[in-house]
Each structure stands twice: as C-alpha cells, then as structure tokens.
C-alpha cells in the first residue's frame, strides 16, 4: 500500500536531496531500537549475523525532507517469537499469522516513530506493512544495523525511497 502525504513543506527541484547518513547515524538507529526493546525488558546486542531462512520484513514509510522507509527484517520464526514477546502476558495462546504480522508491523511503527522524530521535519509516517520489504534503491542512502535478539539475527534498515541522482 502506498500513501501520499502533504507535509506542508514545498521544495524546488534544485534543492539538494539529503541522504540518511547526513541526518542521523547508525548509533542513533541502534539507540532507538535499544529503547524500543528495553520497553519489552529485552536486550539487543549489536552483532552482524547472516539473516537466513524464510525471511519477513515490516516497514513504515517516512515522507518529508528525507523520504524512505524503516524496515525491520528477520526470520519468520523469530518474528513470531518477537510478536509473542511484544504482547507479553496479553499474547493469546495461539498466535496466527495475522497476529504475528500485526505485532511485527507495530514494532516497525514504534521504531519509525522515533526515527521520524530524529529527522528534520515536518515528516509524516505511513501505516505499517508486512511482507518482503522494499528494495534498497540507493545504497548510499541507507543506514543498516544488525543485531541479535535472544541470539537470533535481526536487521533494521533506514533506507531512501529514491534512486541515486545521476551525475550532471
């Protein structure tokens, strides 16, 4: 689902488009993720590990002076475990696929809300989506952190929606 926002800010075609690393850094993204997980009494360990198996992503689009997505990716069984952890004592005995998708999407929403607050505004965020995740359009406009949660790998990518500008 794509959404159109009017953030109220007008820009000219000659305006320089910032890339994400000019606005925030990986330490900020990790700190945001760490805070989100600490509310669940959970700890994230910054460590790169191969994401493998049946992967799933949840993401939220940010539209403003910088436009892109916050994408959380992990293995499907880790997403299910995470959904259960997120719901804590309020998790149902049986978690269906739609329960996992809803909770996993909400995790992306929580992280994206804090990323948006760290960016220069005004910006707007979309409703969360869950699935394969958007492709990285411009590797230079991406910050990615890799972490372990309960020993399981997760990645959080803050990535631009637009391809690189061609050289003039």
């Amino acid at each position: 689902m794509s959404m159109t926002f009017d953030t109220g800010e007008r820009r000219r075609s000659t305006d320089v488009r910032p890339v994400i690393s000019e606005l925030i850094d990986e330490a900020t993204v990790f700190s945001i993720a760490e805070e989100a997980w600490s509310a669940l009494d959970e700890v994230l360990v910054p460590q790169r590990a191969e994401l493998s198996g049946d992967l799933i992503s949840s993401w939220v689009e940010i539209v403003g002076p910088w436009t892109g997505s916050v994408v959380v990716s992990t293995a499907r069984d880790t997403a299910a475990e995470l959904a259960r952890g997120f719901m804590g004592p309020f998790a149902p005995d049986e978690l269906g696929d739609s329960d996992v998708a809803d909770a996993f999407g909400e995790i992306a929403n929580v992280v994206a809300g804090s990323v948006k607050a760290a960016l220069p505004g005004p910006s707007a965020i979309s409703l969360p989506e869950v699935g394969e995740g958007p492709a990285v359009r411009n590797p230079a406009d991406q910050l990615r952190i890799d972490v372990l949660w309960r020993g399981r790998p997760l990645s959080i990518s803050v990535q631009g929606a637009l391809p690189a500008l061609s050289a003039q």
Binding site: A39, P89, E106, N109, V110, G113, S114, G121
Partner: protein, 127 residues
C-alpha cells in the same frame, strides 16, 4: 470505570486493553476513530479513551477534535498512545483536547502513572 481503546493494531488493542483491564477498567475497543465515535454514539460513555494517532478511516487527532466538538462528551478524558513522539505533535494533540500523551514503546507502569496523574485509577488499582 470504563475505558475505550482505539488503535488499528490488534496487538496494541490487546496490550492496552489488557493493562487497563488489569487495573479494573471495563474495556471496549475500536479499530479506528470512526468506530470509536460509533461506540460513543451508542451511548456507551467511557471515563477514559486511549487513542492512537495514525489510523485508517479517521485518525486520532480527528477523533479528539470530534469528541471535543460534542458537549455531551466533554467529561471524557482522552489519552493519546502513539509512536508520534515529536514535541510539535504532542502540542497539537493537547491543543486539540487530549489530556495526556503516552509515547510508544511504553510500559504498564507508564500507563498507570499517567492514570494516577489524571486521577483515573479505579479503586481496585489503589488497593
């Protein structure tokens, strides 16, 4: 005491409803602002509404404005529970008529503390 929880995420409705139910509230929920207004239109008037910001159909800010425009619902306390964490958004929500603002992620204690500030903890939660 009654509470209405409005969030498009079923997960968040479960969590917030679970916390409020544990504190002794009688809880109903709705998936967006329009559904929330339908509950109020039925005559089920809550003491507290916990409402998300970003939702389809009718967002939380529109819901707050709609509730505040109806004098019959003036006594309803509204707490926004949202991932919108910028100061400007908080000011906007409070200006529209929300009483309190909780930023996701939150803990059960954070909700309880806000309710205590609002004087909305049911007697059983004080025991």
């Amino acid at each position: 005491m009654r509470a209405l929880v409005i969030d498009d995420s079923r997960t968040m409705r479960r969590i917030v409803s679970g916390i409020l139910g544990g504190l002794g509230f009688e809880v109903r929920d709705a998936g967006h602002g329009r559904e929330g207004l339908d509950v109020l239109d039925e005559g089920w008037l809550p003491d507290l509404v916990c409402v998300d910001w970003n939702m389809p159909v009718m967002d939380g800010l529109q819901f707050v404005s709609a509730v505040r425009s109806n004098p019959a619902w003036r006594q309803v306390t509204i707490m926004m529970v949202t991932s919108e964490s910028e100061h400007t958004q908080i000011v906007k929500a409070l200006a529209a008529g929300a009483h309190e603002y909780v930023i996701k992620p939150f803990t059960a204690d954070a909700i309880r503390d806000k309710l205590a500030l609002l004087g909305l903890l049911p007697q059983e939660a004080l025991l």
